[in-house]
Amino acid sequence: MSPSQQPSSHNPTCLIKNRFAHRFVRALNNLNIKNRSPHDENQIYRRSHRVKIAAYAAMASVVGSKRAWSRAVLWKVRNRSRNQGLLVSSRRKRVDCKSKTSNDHHAKVSVVRRRNPNPKREDLDPFRYSGQELKLRKLVPGAATMDSCCLMDETADYIKCLAAQVEVMKTLVDFYTTT
């Protein structure tokens, strides 16, 4: 491998794949899966769910805030981790203190729901939000309120990044299967 030749830097998709691979592997290390062995199906599901969230979050952070879909994904992930932090702390407190008033339970268990910065506006223009376009808006994150032009643009970028993400994950799976 000659250091002067770097074909990956010419192709933007390769650059994205590279950066995504770095962040994803780092996130996987942080997940610390190796030390825990799952006892039941629920834990197995949760483990794979965490890997999936790490993958989407890593890809969104590579793209950054340039795209509406990546902003929406990052917002969802951060909101989810905030809510989970609240729920976990409430569960711990419930276990530690046996006698607690029910008011405390309700106050802690209720999840803080931040207002979604992208509210749906179907009532304003039903023509736009019908048919195939509506299905597309549901699939692409953060696409509920864009106009059709931006929606196509975001969809194209989202598809490119998703395909790159899938390729990197496949490579990783093949790599870990063979070693």
Binding site: M1, Q6, S8, K17, N18, A21, H22, V25, R26, L28, N29, I33, K34, S37, P38, I44, R47, S48, H49, R50, V51, K52, A55, Y56, L124, D125, P126, F127, R128, S130, G131, Q132, E133, K135, L136, L139, V140, D147, S148, C149, M152, D153, T155, A156, Y158, I159, K160, L162, A163, Q165, V166, M169, K170, T171, L172, V173, F175, Y176, T177, T179
Partner: protein, 93 residues
């Protein structure tokens, strides 16, 4: 009073030109896998392209689910931790 028919109603925002949408739709068409459009490659309607795009995105989501499941199982049993950077360098450069 005009009857509320959604198709004939004037949109409140400025109308996006059909050419623009056609251009974007063709851009999308190039991104989705081509094995479906073998026959009418020129005259695929916009709704068909959108439909194919939705299907493609759904299939990509399913693949991500499946791959993350397999990855989580594989990571459980492997020991490699230190040589991550070298792994990535050898895979992607």
């Amino acid at each position: 009073m005009s009857s509320r028919r959604s198709r004939s109603r004037q949109p409140r925002v400025s109308r996006i030109s059909d050419d623009q949408i056609a251009g974007l739709v063709s851009k999308l068409q190039q991104l989705i896998p081509h094995n479906i459009h073998t026959t009418h490659s020129d005259k695929v309607s916009a709704s068909r392209v959108l439909q194919e795009t939705c299907n493609y995105i759904r299939s990509l989501h399913r693949e991500v689910d499946d791959l993350s499941e397999r990855l989580s199982e594989l990571l459980q049993s492997t020991d490699t931790n230190s040589a991550e950077a070298d792994i990535i360098r050898s895979l992607f450069m």
